[in-house]
């Protein structure tokens, strides 16, 4: 048991050693930083225009409380994980010393840790980008109040709804937004890993893109215009989509805070948890029949 755990940790740590001078990793993190800049511009410019300040993590909450931003940030991981299941020149030695199931669990462990690192990097980037006009105290800023209690937030398409502001403090909300984002991203990456092992690299990337497109297409406004649903029934569409779209599960404002029948945060965690466990089990099962191809080079 202990040896198996040590093997799993060693396998995942070896992947982190390959981060040094790795172009894909460098490019992913740089592009993530640029993406953060592009996504946060609207929010920060709004605060500057109103000569107001921001709470340090507020920009992250407003920006990644939106489904499109979650989608864009998770798409960059396709670049980071494009060479899954990370077969390197060291893989044959790992396979000689341990079981292939232990090896794939090690890769999964690496994926979980690296995704968490990537999201922490995004969080720190947004904090860095707005640090000139921000403070650290755990209270909502004047900008948040303007966005929540005026029509300007809606015009800017920022998800600063009144219920978001009233339901918690910034750091508490940050934990929820971060957790939802992490769960969605992990499910997407594990879908990619499963199809990668089952049907090949191309299928893995297509599956991840399809997973994201499914979330984008399940938009209440799109469904309303396609099915010509009257405005009075839009609420029901929103509830249905809140349950069946993974992207809506990852959006903080699309949750039940006592007002409607949308999923609660606990229910979302359960949904993602069940999908996550299923994906892990099927991937381990499919790994038994996986045919390794060693091309003799890491480049």
């Amino acid at each position: 048991m202990f040896n198996g755990l040590r093997f799993v940790i060693k396998t995942s740590l070896y992947n982190f050693r390959l981060w040094k001078s790795n172009v894909k990793v460098i490019a992913t993190f740089f592009l993530a930083f640029i993406l953060c800049f592009l996504l946060t511009t609207k929010c920060i410019e709004f605060a500057i225009d109103h000569e107001s300040t921001l709470q340090l993590v507020e920009v992250f909450i407003w920006t990644f409380g939106d489904s499109n931003s979650i989608l864009l940030s998770s798409l960059l991981l396709l670049l980071l994980y494009s060479d899954m299941p990370f077969i390197t020149s060291a893989t044959p030695f790992f396979l000689v010393r341990g079981k292939r199931t232990q090896w794939i669990v090690g890769q999964m462990f690496y994926i979980v840790i690296s995704t968490a690192i990537y999201l922490i990097f995004i969080l720190l980037s947004t904090c860095l980008l707005c640090m000139r006009i921000s403070y650290v105290k755990n209270i909502w800023s004047r900008t948040a109040a303007i966005l929540a209690y005026s029509s300007e937030g809606k015009l800017l398409n920022l998800p600063s709804t009144v219920k978001l502001v009233e339901m918690g403090r910034p750091y508490q909300t940050l934990v929820y937004v971060f957790m939802l984002m992490l769960l969605y991203t992990l499910v997407m990456v594990f879908v990619m890993l499963l199809f990668n092992i089952w049907k090949g690299v191309r299928a893995g990337i297509i599956a991840a893109i399809f997973f994201n497109v499914y979330g984008v297409l399940l938009n209440p406004e799109n469904i309303q215009s396609v099915l010509k649903i009257p405005d009075v029934l839009l609420y029901k569409v929103r509830v249905w989509i809140g349950w069946i779209s993974p992207l809506n599960h990852a959006t903080y404002s699309m949750h039940n805070f006592g007002y409607d029948n949308l999923p609660t945060l606990f229910q979302t965690i359960c949904v993602f948890g069940v999908i996550f466990l299923l994906l892990i089990m099927v991937t381990i099962y499919k790994m038994k029949g996986y045919s390794f191809q060693f091309r003799g080079t890491e480049n």
Partner: protein, 251 residues
Amino acid sequence: MLVYDMKRAMDCKLYCLSIILMVLCITFTELDTILEVFNSEELLNTGWTEGFLLESLSDDSMLFIFPILCSLPFSSSFIDEYKSGIIKFSLSRMNRKTFLVSKIVTTAISGGLIILIGVIAVSILALLLFLPMENKSIEFGGNKELFSEIFRLFCRFFLYGALGAVTGLWGSTKCNSRFMAWFSAFIAEYMLVIFVERFFPHCYIVYPREWLRPTKEWPLNTWSICLWLILLSIGIGGAFFKTALRRLENV
């Protein structure tokens, strides 16, 4: 400059791609304005086309595609030849200095040209479409200040493309990756934008948007931007030279 470098850099397909991409980009970003012009029954004000051109060519969307576009023709040339091993045959016939200087010059010219050709094509298209719709068309050479402004803008575009392409050449050599040839200019450009917009707004000298659409006071009637871009290209070219020489030590 080596003849075979020039032949490879002047790939016609890429220049057509540049024209198509720029036309599409301007059409999509300025769609509302274009539709409004075509739906309106009134004639446009004199000078509208020139204003439209200057605005749309230095738009944010252009800032997005320029760095990738300029590194397409030749920025990956060194790393391609180095990795495939062809570089050994080239270096057996010439010295390293000539080879590397040729790479820098060809990359800069091809990067500048791909942007310039696209910009000229877009300008001609806009003039053909919108100039007849103006209230009183200007006579060719009638407005010297305007043509001088357009000429300066074209020079800046060329040098901006050259700088982007040389940055791609250096990035790919430094990271030993073809992928970085296309992305390093884009990354470098946005890092500069972030540096100025978020942290040091007074350092407008390194602000790429300012190079294309100057809003601050630049000496020599904005010709100093061109000199500054040339200086930056030479600096980055020098950095490439040093990095490439180190790579060639084992060849």
